[in-house]
């Protein structure tokens, strides 16, 4: 069986972060990602790191799970760090080795940028680890709904996302089935170079696409038969509750912003 990559993200739980309203979490993470760029010295980065560690602690998600999520991004962080080490000048040379000259500012910059990256990724990961995809969708729909007046199709976007979520496991299962069927007919997915292997997936993708279109047509018909007429006049079964903790989380965000403005040079 192939692993389902997307639904593996969310770790169900009952931590303070899990209990927060998805709107609060989305707002928090979105604003956080902006204010991160305010930090430019040890004190301000320290504050950000502190908040991040606190959030990780509050999430109740095992640390190894969070670190596992960081792994794919590690190379990117390393690469940018090396580039900064190498290319940023000023502040005097601290190491010289052939064509490799490291300046003080380069070392500092590399450290800060890596830390900033790490903090951004951690916060983003925490959001998806503690919020179910469907709650995220709901949160996004409500947050975007004031924008429907200027033509943002908030309801349609949310419906699209939730249908995608609904069908991801179904399509994975189908992919698996097609792969097995093609294997039984002698298809080879393992040997050859990258190009050849990629090409060997064509006989999997084509039937998958065809069946997806058929599914989409069936689903559209079924939705119409059940009286779907777009977002207007609909009631909702899923409710969001804005509690005191949600307001507090945004207050913390405000305090953080003020703190950063005060601490930065």
């Amino acid at each position: 069986m192939i692993q389902n990559p997307i639904l593996g993200q969310y770790v169900p739980g009952d931590s303070p972060l899990h209990r927060l309203d998805p709107r609060a979490k989305l707002l928090f993470v979105f604003c956080f990602m902006v204010v991160v760029f305010l930090a430019n010295n040890g004190a301000s980065y320290g504050l950000l790191a502190g908040v991040t560690v606190l959030a990780v602690g509050l999430s109740g998600v095992p640390v190894w799970m969070i670190l596992r999520g960081l792994k794919p991004i590690l190379y990117l962080i390393l690469l940018t760090a090396i580039l900064h080490l190498w290319l940023t000048r000023g502040g005097g040379v601290i190491l010289e080795w052939g064509p490799f000259i490291i300046h003080r500012n380069g070392a500092l910059q590399a450290g800060w940028i890596s830390l900033r990256f790490l903090i951004l990724i951690l916060m983003g990961t925490l959001l998806t680890l503690t919020t179910s995809p469907i709650a995220l969708t709901d949160g996004l729909e409500r947050l975007l709904s004031p924008l429907t007046r200027i033509g943002v199709p908030a309801h349609e976007l949310a419906l699209m996302m939730s249908i995608a979520l609904r069908f991801i496991p179904t399509l994975w299962e189908e992919t698996d089935k097609i792969i097995k069927a093609q294997r039984a007919r002698g298809a080879d997915f393992e040997s050859g170079g990258l190009y050849k292997r990629a090409k060997s997936y064509l006989p999997v993708l084509i039937p998958l696409f065809i069946s997806s279109f058929r599914r989409a047509e069936d689903l559209a018909l079924a939705m119409e038969a059940r009286g779907y007429r777009g977002g207007r006049g609909r009631t909702r079964i899923r409710e969001l509750h804005w509690g005191r903790a949600d307001t507090v989380s945004l207050l913390i965000l405000a305090l953080l912003t003020v703190g950063l403005l005060w601490l930065r040079n």
Binding site: I163, P169, R215, D218, A222, E224, A225, G227, I237
Partner: protein, 283 residues
């Protein structure tokens, strides 16, 4: 009694009128009346217009000729359409492709959300319909983890939550295993007992004989319309309509041909077994 569904001279063909080709009519001048509370099975070969008929009945398609009235409403009228969708529910063939929600509860709610039912009432109805379809306790389950029969019962739950007067089952059992099929047929039977009008489109005479009335469609026209026993009186023609005799009926016919005194109006296996027992005890 005012019929719940009334078709007068309904004709339909696919393809637009202006594309040059002579359209192939799927249905021609079809007249049909369905009374409230009836259990009607619709049979016929592939392409005989069974599914088209179903889609015409709740306004997914509009007839090219003729007129349809659904509970006195006109599916051609956009203002009547939401009400028609509420009154005539539909369960489709593929269990996977009609589930919208990411959880059982969400999916049952989908139709009611479209109707604008208040949330409190939705919760009450969800509990009730999941109980009726034997899915209680699975509220938060992902549809992907359900069996075929459960998925189809979920589709039914979503439809009955809208409290329709008619439910059309468009080959709703054809993709299920025997267990799933039995479960769905049971729910259908209960709905019928509860007074819902059932229209069951099927290939299987075995399933059709559960209905109180069978309609055989072929070449755009009803070929036969009557109680299920009528079906077996036209045994020779069944093959022309690519239908197969159920085992019990076939066996009965052959035994009768050999001069065995077996009742002619037998439709089910139980009755046949009963007759065979009486015959044996006499012998």
């Amino acid at each position: 009694m005012e019929p719940i569904l009334q078709l007068d001279g309904v004709g339909y063909h696919y393809g637009s009128p202006g594309d040059g080709n002579d359209p192939e009519w799927i249905l021609t001048g079809l007249n049909l009346c369905v009374n409230p509370g009836e259990y009607l099975a619709v049979m016929g070969p592939n392409g005989s217009g069974k599914s088209t008929l179903a889609k015409l009945m709740n306004g997914l398609l509009t007839p090219i000729t003729g007129k349809i009235r659904v509970a006195g409403l006109d599916p051609g009228n956009d203002r009547d359409l939401p009400l028609i969708r509420r009154k005539v529910g539909m369960v489709f063939q593929n269990p996977d492709n009609q589930i919208v929600g990411t959880t059982v509860k969400d999916d049952v709610a989908f139709g009611m959300e479209n109707m604008g039912v208040p949330r409190k009432q939705m919760l009450i109805r969800i509990r009730e319909v999941l109980e009726r379809t034997g899915l209680a306790g699975l509220e938060e389950a992902s549809p992907h983890h359900l069996s075929g029969g459960q998925k189809q019962r979920l589709a039914i739950a979503g439809v009955i939550a809208m409290q329709p007067e008619v439910i059309i089952f468009d080959e709703a059992t054809s993709m299920l295993d025997p267990t799933g099929r039995r479960e769905v047929l049971e729910v259908m039977g209960e709905l019928y007992q509860g007074g819902t009008t059932i229209i069951h489109i099927t290939h299987s005479p075995q399933e059709a004989i559960r209905a109180e009335r069978v309609l055989v469609l072929a070449e755009g026209q009803p070929q036969l319309d009557g109680p299920p026993a009528e079906l077996f009186r036209h045994r020779e023609q069944l093959a022309d309509w690519s239908l197969e005799m159920p085992l019990a009926a076939e066996l009965k016919e052959r035994l009768r041909c050999h001069g065995m005194p077996i009742r002619e109006d037998i439709t089910g296996m139980e009755e046949l077994v009963e007759d065979l027992w009486t015959l044996l005890s006499k012998a």
